[in-house]
Symmetry: C2
Subunit: 110 residues, 2 copies
């Protein structure tokens, strides 16, 4: 039941246990930033990993999601064969006030 294409369920890290460094590094990558933004504009649990429009292969994509999990930015759940995502808005906001909002509503440096 509900254990998609993975031996074990995704391992999550709570934002509370994340260092600023890790958080910043996670968001400093263009692909991940794109994922986070796209995710922010979607209904929770509505997007599977493969449904994002980024210019990388599956392997790299999977890796990026692992990084996002490791930064407490994304939560994942297995739903049948696919793994659906959710942006941990509230929790992340509590740990890093303003950060998420900052990267989300950014005027791309004019």
């Amino acid at each position: 039941m509900a254990t998609a294409s993975h031996r074990t369920a995704p391992e999550h890290i709570h934002p509370e246990d994340v260092s600023v460094q890790t958080a910043l590094a996670a968001l400093a990558d263009p692909v991940r930033l794109s994922l986070v933004r796209e995710l922010a504009g979607s209904v929770e649990w509505s997007r599977s990993c493969g449904s994002f429009d980024v210019p990388v292969g599956k392997a790299a994509l999977s890796h990026h999601f692992a990084v996002l999990r490791g930064a407490g930015l994304v939560e994942q759940r297995d739903e049948g064969p696919r793994r659906v995502n959710r942006l941990r808005r509230a929790e992340f906001e509590a740990r890093f006030p303003g950060l998420l909002e900052l990267v989300l509503r950014d005027d791309p440096a004019v």
Copy 2:
């Protein structure tokens, strides 16, 4: 006069022209984060580049300051033989509200 050990004066970039990516990447490095924090606790223009307590050589240090300038985080001015620094608090805050404050008053991830 006032052109220390450098052909040309330091080239600055205003925070307004900096992308989030660049800003985050600049702050995601341990050495640079250390520099910013130490600088935040000092009087403006009081610290020369060499006066910071970081475990890297001069060359690397010089590079890190270049990155910080490129992210609009630091302003430099030549004062005799040395180059003194200032944290661009207000300008940076205006461009990335909350970010600087966030990395400065951080509980190192418990």
